[in-house]
Structure formats: C-alpha cells, structure tokens
Amino acid sequence: MTKPKTVLFACGTGIATSTVVAHAVEDALKKRGISIATRQCKTTEVVSHLADVDLVVSTAQLPKDLGKPAITTLAFLTGIGKDDVLDKIETILKS
C-alpha cells in the first residue's frame, strides 16, 4: 500500500461547498479504487495549507502559481463534466 495522496479542497468559506465537493470526490475516487486523504480551507488560505498537498481542488478562484497541481471546478455541485474532472484528478494523483 502506497501512502494515499492528499487533496486540499477549497471554497469561499472553507466549510459548506468544499465539504460537499470533498465527499463527492472521495466517494467517486473510492469507486475507482483510489483512496485519498482530504483537507479543507478557504481559497484565501490555500497558500498556507500547501505543505504535503498533492492536488488542490477548488470551487472558487485560486491564487495564481501555487506551485502545485490545482483544479477549479463546479462539476461536483452541478454534475456537469464530472467524469472528465475525475479523469483529470486521477491522472494527477497517479503521476
């Protein structure tokens, strides 16, 4: 077993939206046989939470040039393009 990758979920308040997205991504990846560790924060605090993080998934605009892979998406709220975003997440986590 390799150590699960850590995904940081961000939204405006770091509570409601990011929790919904974190649950949705965690469940969907589990179905693909991938387990992840999740963390959450506000988009304005992302920079100070990046240590050990493999990927940032946000529902709101992120600061530029985080130096880590980052995806901004509403797919896990609206359902639109969900599979494409999951493919993208899977590719990043496997690299």
Binding site: G12, T13, I15, A16, T17, T19, V20, H23, A24, T59, A60, Q61, T72, T73, L74, F76, L77, T78, G79, I80
Partner: protein, 153 residues
C-alpha cells in the same frame, strides 16, 4: 435523502413567480422571509449581499436556467433554514468559479447555515436536486408549495 431538504425549506419561505430586477432584490426578498420566520438576525441580508459581492454563488448548469446558492457566516443565523425563489425572468448572478462571468439565474436557494454538518447536508441535497435537468425544469414551472415539496422532498 432529499427529504432533509424539506426539513429546512420553510413553506413560508418558498416564493414562486417572483419578478425581480436584480440578484440583490431576490436575496433581500428571501432574507426578509427568513427573518420574519425567525431563522436569521436582521444583519443577515446585508451579510449575504456582502458575501455575494465578494464570493459569488452562481452555479452554471450549461443553459439559460442557472441556480444560485447565496449564504453567509453562521453569526447572522439563529437556526438553520432554507428559502427558495423561482423567478419569472432570470436575474444576473456571478459565477462561483469565475466572478467575471455573469449567469442568468432562475432558481435561488438562500441558505441560513449555522451548523457545519447540517449545512453540508443542505448543500449536498441542493446539488443532488439541481443535477437533474428535469427537476430544474419542473421547479421553474412549479405553481405551488406542494409542487416544490414534491420535487425536493
């Protein structure tokens, strides 16, 4: 699962056939209901408007009938509740993902959140409901509180 949504959605805070000129007007209208029904403090409306200006909540569904989920910090909330408006004509909300993009919104869910776990459930169920184009369509056409309860309950 979606039943919990109706636990929060107060029948007195379901507004159908709303004619509003702006996102602010819809938010004020719904916030007023939540206030008179005892869910939120008088400061709630302004706090939601301020947050919406900074961190917008429009969710693009790929067409002309989009959804917005305005909300604000727990300190303005007395107990968790949900207000809902269906608009006769769209008003413009900014896209959560890209504040520079404006979205025509027909359905507004104003969330009064004060419990981290409950607010997650509320938003999760709204997300579940809006992922069905049939539900969106039916909500826009709904004529009564019963129609809305049936669609969200």
């Amino acid at each position: 699962m979606a039943q919990a949504l109706m636990n929060y959605l107060d029948p007195g805070a379901i507004l159908l056939g709303v004619e509003a000129k702006s996102d602010q007007e819809v938010i004020r209208l719904l916030a007023e209901r939540l206030h008179s029904l005892g869910y939120v403090k008088p400061s709630f409306a302004e706090a939601v408007l301020a947050r919406e200006a900074q961190l917008p909540t429009g969710l693009p569904l790929g067409g002309d009938n989009n959804v917005a989920v305005p909300h604000t910090d727990p300190e303005h909330v007395l107990k968790p509740g949900l207000a809902f408006a269906a608009l006769t004509a769209p008003v413009s909300f900014s896209n959560m993902e890209d504040p520079d993009e404006k979205l025509p919104v027909r359905l507004v869910f104003l969330m009064a959140l004060n419990d981290k776990d409950k607010q997650v459930e509320m938003l999760q169920e709204i997300a579940g409901a809006i992922q069905s184009p049939e539900t969106i369509d039916a909500l826009i056409k709904s004529k009564s509180v019963e129609d809305v309860s049936r669609l969200l309950g």
